[in-house]
């Protein structure tokens, strides 16, 4: 049944791509894309907890048969990633004239993601991976929402292709070791391979998938690329595409690599370190951004890094023969990405609402909440709360679980493992704190900030998107005891434990045992409104005084609230100064004066934060590539005689090779 739905989705997406390619019937294309996504969601719901049945695709690649099967965790991640995708495709990009190209790119991304989740063949996987990247690039390129869109996309593709090369190497290596590209064949012969080889295989996988997930140093393409697109593109890229990349990494590390103790432990430590450092850096940079898309993109990288850290913890626990803890860590990563896809998608689509109301993606005072529907505000609030890890939202649940997992480090017996987990806990605490401040800034300055000018209100499309996704986030948190059951079978198959069942105890969520700690969003959602009745009753029964309204006191004069409110830059300035060794912020004040320098006519203030890897890693590489290109350009001299001479030399060489 789910396979039928998936093929329905596939067909719908192909049809939408065709329509978009010919620029005909674009509204129908949107309906097809959205409908296909909904079919995909239903397929995922139906498939859990068993996953889909394996189906042989009607092609052969490199002499092997190609199978298609979505495991339960793939269905889980795919389903959650498709929720924002459905809404993003339904309402499409706010740039109407770019719609055809965007829809084509969106279709390509979705089709590619489907392949990444389900195709069980090395070459087929790579093709799907490339289609997904191509789709993403096409979406951004067609939108042209910033003046320089080519360079960021080129940078993104450059880094993604670096990852793709790593993936190619990894799959070739796996194929050579297993004598087949089909994923089912991996495993038996691998167990005899040497540990360094397997370790380098693991590192290649991390590089390959990390390029898309935003592990360091690959997160540097995020701001410029996301900043050249729209919120809808961001919802797709941070939702289904990011989930697909994580799924690939998870399967590669847990299924393809054999569970050797030292390998798992060492790789686990490496991944935890990379994950935590990425999380810290991306969280810090997210806080300094002043554009919705750039801030949310860094935040996506941060959340992906947290999930990757949990994946590393899984490996670490498995390497120390703690399958229960390993399964706990793995389930936590899945929960985290589920909540993240919904909440991030919700905020990206809310950003589109801001754009439609004010024509800008900047985080500044828009007074949007007051003018827009209550549902928009609630949805954006739930999404922001979730990403800021506030109860009772899904983000709080997954962050709580993350810390509970990390605290379990005392079960391990090596110093390295314990130290890594302890330091990881500290690093993640910093990340969560900065993330909290980031979302206060986004919501407080970006949506709540008052202004006396009046722009428009958020349009119905954004209201529906933000509202629905916010509601889904709350539903995910409140119904968590239910949703956890769907991961039961895959956890048993993968790790041999009943962890998913042990993570909830009635209405409480527990880290495998109720004696340690517990939370319960389910009960919170019931108890909090009941408790709120008390102050409401007090207010209602206490109406004795007449109310006199006076303006806000500013010192005796009336002030425009927008002028005197906190700005995005002011809010983040303290951290900018404190972490200046990371940010290396630059500020420049230029004063334009009259004849004598004392009389200032205009003051111009510019400020920047510097990326870490940009100047030290990517800039030299880029310079080298450009230099190489300029040498090669010598071949394009334009002289016919030169070309003829080159052809002659080549012919001579071929003759020599053939003869000798």
């Amino acid at each position: 049944m789910s396979n039928n739905l998936l093929s329905l989705a596939f067909v719908a997406w192909i049809a939408a791509a065709a329509l978009a390619a010919f620029r005909q019937g674009l509204p129908l294309a949107r309906i097809l894309l959205a409908g296909g996504s909904i079919a995909g969601i239903i397929a995922a719901i139906v498939a859990l907890p068993h996953g889909t049945l394996a189906v042989a695709l009607p092609t052969r690649l490199a002499g092997d048969p190609v199978d298609f099967q979505m495991s339960p965790d793939a269905s889980w991640l795919f389903g959650f990633g498709l929720a924002p995708a459905a809404l993003a495709c339904a309402f499409s990009t706010p740039k109407r004239d770019a719609e055809a190209g965007w829809l084509f790119g969106a279709a390509a991304s979705l089709i590619g993601a489907l392949g990444v989740f389900g195709v069980r063949h090395g070459a087929g996987f790579l093709i799907a991976w490339e289609i997904m990247s191509f789709g993403g690039a096409l979406m951004i390129l067609s939108e042209r929402l910033s003046s320089d869109v080519g360079r960021p996309v080129l940078f993104m593709l450059g880094l993604l292709e670096t990852g793709a090369v790593a993936l190619l190497l990894a799959i070739l290596l796996l194929g050579a070791l297993s004598h087949s590209f089909a994923f089912q064949a991996y495993g038996h012969l691998l167990a005899q391979a040497s540990t360094p080889l397997l370790a380098s295989l693991g590192v290649l996988l991390v590089i390959g998938f990390g390029a898309k997930l935003g592990l360091l140093p690959f997160y540097e393409w995020f701001p410029a690329t996301y900043g050249a697109g729209s919120g809808a593109s961001g919802a797709l890229l941070s939702g289904v595409v990011m989930n697909a990349a994580f799924f690939g990494l998870s399967r590669g590390l847990l299924e393809w690599l054999p569970p050797q103790a030292s390998l798992s432990a060492g790789l686990g430590i490496f991944i935890i370190i990379v994950g935590v450092l990425s999380a810290i850096l991306t969280a810090l940079y997210a806080f300094q951004q002043e554009d919705w898309r750039e801030l949310l993109s860094f935040s996506s990288a941060e959340n992906a890094s947290i999930a990757v850290t949990m994946l590393g913890a899984t490996l670490l626990f498995r390497g120390h023969s703690e399958p229960l803890l390993a399964s706990l860590a793995w389930v936590v990563a899945l929960l985290h990405l589920a909540g993240h896809a919904l909440a991030k998608g919700g905020l990206f689509l809310a950003a589109d609402g801001v754009y439609r109301a004010t024509s800008r993606y900047t985080i500044f005072h828009t007074d949007l909440l007051r003018r827009s529907s209550l549902i928009f505000g609630l949805g954006a609030l739930f999404a922001a709360m979730s990403l800021a890890a506030m109860p009772p939202q899904a983000g709080f649940v997954s962050e709580w679980y993350v810390f509970q997992t990390v605290f379990q480090g005392f079960h391990l017996d090596t110093l390295a493992a314990r130290l890594t987990l302890a330091l990881a806990g500290a690093g993640l605490a910093l990340t969560v704190a900065v993330a909290f401040a980031t979302y206060v800034k986004v919501f407080g300055v970006g949506l709540l900030g008052r202004t006396s000018e009046s722009d428009g209100a958020a349009p119905p499309s954004s209201v529906i998107s933000a509202g629905l996704l916010g509601l889904c986030v709350l539903a995910l948190a409140v119904g968590m005891p239910l949703w956890l059951n769907s991961l039961d079978i895959v956890v048993e198959a993968r790790f041999g434990t009943q962890a998913a069942r042990a993570m909830h105890d009635g209405l409480l969520l527990v880290p495998l045992t109720a004696k340690f700690a517990f939370i319960s969003p389910t009960m919170l959602v019931i108890v909090m409104p009941l408790l709120a009745l008390f102050p409401i009753i007090i207010v209602l029964t206490n109406r004795r005084y007449a109310v006199r309204r006076v303006p806000v006191w500013y010192g005796g004069l009336e002030q425009d609230p927008k002028r005197v409110s906190t700005t995005a830059l002011t809010f983040s300035n303290a951290l900018r100064t404190f972490y200046s060794f990371i940010y290396r912020p630059t500020e420049e004040t230029e004063r334009e004066t009259h004849a004598v320098r004392y009389f200032v006519r205009r003051l111009t203030f510019t400020h920047e934060v510097a990326p870490i890897f940009g100047p030290y890693l990517f800039a030299p590489v880029t310079r080298f590539v450009f230099k190489l290109a300029s040498w090669l350009r010598l071949l394009q001299s334009g002289h016919l005689n030169f070309y003829l001479a080159v052809i002659g030399v080549l012919l001579a060489i071929i003759l020599a090779l053939a003869l000798f």
């Binding site: 006076v550 303006p551 006191w553 010192g555 005796g556």
Partner: protein, 268 residues
């Protein structure tokens, strides 16, 4: 830093015992409002009325209830002593009368029986007897009144021991203390400060400028004090009133001491 704690402790108590106990109020030698003795006035003499810079002394236009030729309005007196120096017959003499805090404007006029009904009952202030918060607004003073107000929190006067505090925001204030003749530019902010106060709220005019306009009144930039601008509950003339006078006026307002000025004369 510990050295300062020790220094402070070794200094001992520097606060004047007045007004809670008998003792010096720190104003010895101070010249206060001139005292008027109408019985020493000679007919046709108007030397003091001519020399008074603020027209606090004027010739009476009609016969009043008290036998005097002059209208003396202490609400307009800037304590310049010019009348006491020029009076040839000792009808105007120097004194050390400074406790001129009054609830009604008419109490500051010599010989006038104030028949005005109280603007607010003392019972309304019962809850504030030992805890009053004041928001001060400078509506264009010369800074002398501010200097005396700032002295209220020095160790000698120590206003806090009476339970009276200055606050930063009118939202927290019970009493609005205004100095200055209300310049054109401060008129709006002053009214905004009054509007920003939650009820119950009261107003005190401190200094002759706030009571009646003082030496700077009129002209192109100044008003005539708080009359017509805000409803005033306590008047305290003086140029500037010394800190002891301010403390007396505040305690009088709170019902903790008696008002001493009646009909322009200090009574015990």
């Amino acid at each position: 830093m510990p050295q300062w704690t020790l220094i402070g402790l070794l200094k001992g108590k520097q606060t004047a015992p007045w007004p809670l106990a008998e003792g010096s109020d720190g104003q010895s030698g101070l010249l206060g409002m001139p005292r008027y003795h109408p019985e020493h006035c000679t007919a046709d003499c108007k030397v003091c009325a001519d020399v008074c810079p603020t027209a606090a002394i004027t010739l009476r236009s009609q016969k009043g209830s008290v036998d005097s030729r002059l209208d003396v309005d202490y609400g307009r007196c800037i304590v310049c002593q010019l009348c006491t120096e020029t009076c040839p017959t000792e009808a105007m003499t120097t004194s050390s009368d400074w406790a001129f805090g009054a609830r009604w404007r008419d109490d500051l006029k010599w010989g006038v029986e104030s028949t005005a009904s109280p603007q607010s009952e003392p019972s309304a202030r019962a809850g504030f007897r030992r805890s009053l918060h004041i928001r001060h607004v400078d509506a264009g003073s010369c800074n002398g009144c501010e200097s005396e107000l700032q002295a209220l929190n020095n160790p000698f006067y120590n206003l806090h021991r009476l339970g009276i505090f200055f606050t930063a925001s009118p939202r927290f204030a019970d009493l609005l203390l205004v100095t200055g003749p209300v310049t054109y530019a401060m008129h709006g902010p002053l009214r905004a400060a009054y509007e920003a106060m939650a009820e119950p709220r009261w107003v005190m005019a401190m200094g002759t400028c706030a009571v009646s306009g003082g030496i700077a009144e009129g002209g192109y930039a100044c008003g005539h004090g708080l009359e017509g601008v805000l409803p005033v509950d306590v008047y305290l003339p003086g140029c500037p009133p010394n800190p002891a006078a301010v403390m007396h006026a505040l305690l009088m307002f709170l019902g903790r001491v008696q008002q001493r000025v009646k009909g322009g004369q200090l009574v015990e």
